[in-house]
């Protein structure tokens, strides 16, 4: 057990704070939503009602989709785009998909290489893009889930105001959906761009997200 925690402390730490904050969001959201309902002449909702509401899951999925979009774009963009001096970038001369030898695929695979990296062909093509494909699919699924939940919430608010309901397809071009989407995207794009740029001049000793403290400012991708 101690070995398990030692080998997986990073992912266990993030899983723990993820679940803690998800529960925290549900309680804070329940109180905020209830206060809003009471203010509008309605009644407070229970925690169980709130965690099974479109309001809660719309808020959760809004943030999930933008995080998975951020990482999908980061994975994809860093194949071809570089930033001199950044720890988040490959060296300037390594732009592109790189050679089979460097990537250890097909005949260059070793005995410990994953099975799908060895054979070549369609399975290897699929496996060599599996991270971006998976993150991209999760982004699309969470964005879809966000749209469905935001749509339900939007229509519920329309009902309360005795205004017209929208179809899901119509909601997809409504400013309400795009305001909720873009407010999350813009912050992710700034954060990724900041990581790419700030790691040129700033350091964090001991973190693989930083270049070594004594690395020159124009050294690119030195912690790999």
């Amino acid at each position: 057990m101690r070995n398990f925690v030692r080998e997986n402390s990073l992912s266990l730490f993030f899983a723990t704070i993820f679940l803690t904050t998800l529960v925290g969001q549900s309680f804070a959201g329940q109180h905020a939503y209830s206060a809003e309902q009471v203010e509008q002449g309605g009644s407070a909702v229970s925690w169980l009602t709130y965690v099974t509401s479109a309001h809660y899951w719309g808020a959760v999925m809004e943030n999930w989709q933008s995080e998975f979009l951020q990482f999908s774009l980061f994975i994809g963009a860093t194949i071809w785009l570089v930033q001199k001096g950044s720890n988040e970038s490959k060296p300037l001369g390594d732009k592109g998909l790189e050679s089979d030898e460097r990537q250890r695929v097909g005949s260059h695979a070793g005995p410990e290489s994953p099975l799908w990296a060895r054979g070549g062909g369609l399975r290897t093509r699929l496996y060599e893009n599996s991270l971006l494909l998976t993150m991209g699919v999760i982004f699309l699924a969470t964005w879809l889930a966000q749209s469905l939940n935001n749509w339900r919430t939007f229509n519920q608010e329309q009902r309360e105001r005795s205004e017209a309901q929208l179809s899901w397809v119509r909601y997809l071009i409504d400013p309400d959906f795009w305001e909720k989407t873009l407010q999350n995207w813009q912050s992710e794009f700034l954060a990724v761009g900041s990581m790419a740029v700030l790691t040129i001049y700033l350091r964090q000793r001991g973190s693989p997200e930083s270049k070594p403290v004594g690395a020159p400012h124009d050294e690119t991708g030195s912690s790999g």
Binding site: N8, T52, M61
Partner: protein
């Protein structure tokens, strides 16, 4: 000879599965809630 390596792989496999389950459960819950609010 292989057992320590196999042991390491199974511990990382456990966290991989944990994250896949967390993500899938979240998306599934969100979609089901939206569909149930019909």
């Amino acid at each position: 000879l292989c057992s320590p390596k196999r042991g390491n792989r199974s511990t990382v496999k456990a966290v991989f599965v944990l994250y896949v389950v967390l993500i899938a459960a979240g998306i599934l819950a969100a979609v089901l809630v939206a569909l149930a609010e019909a």
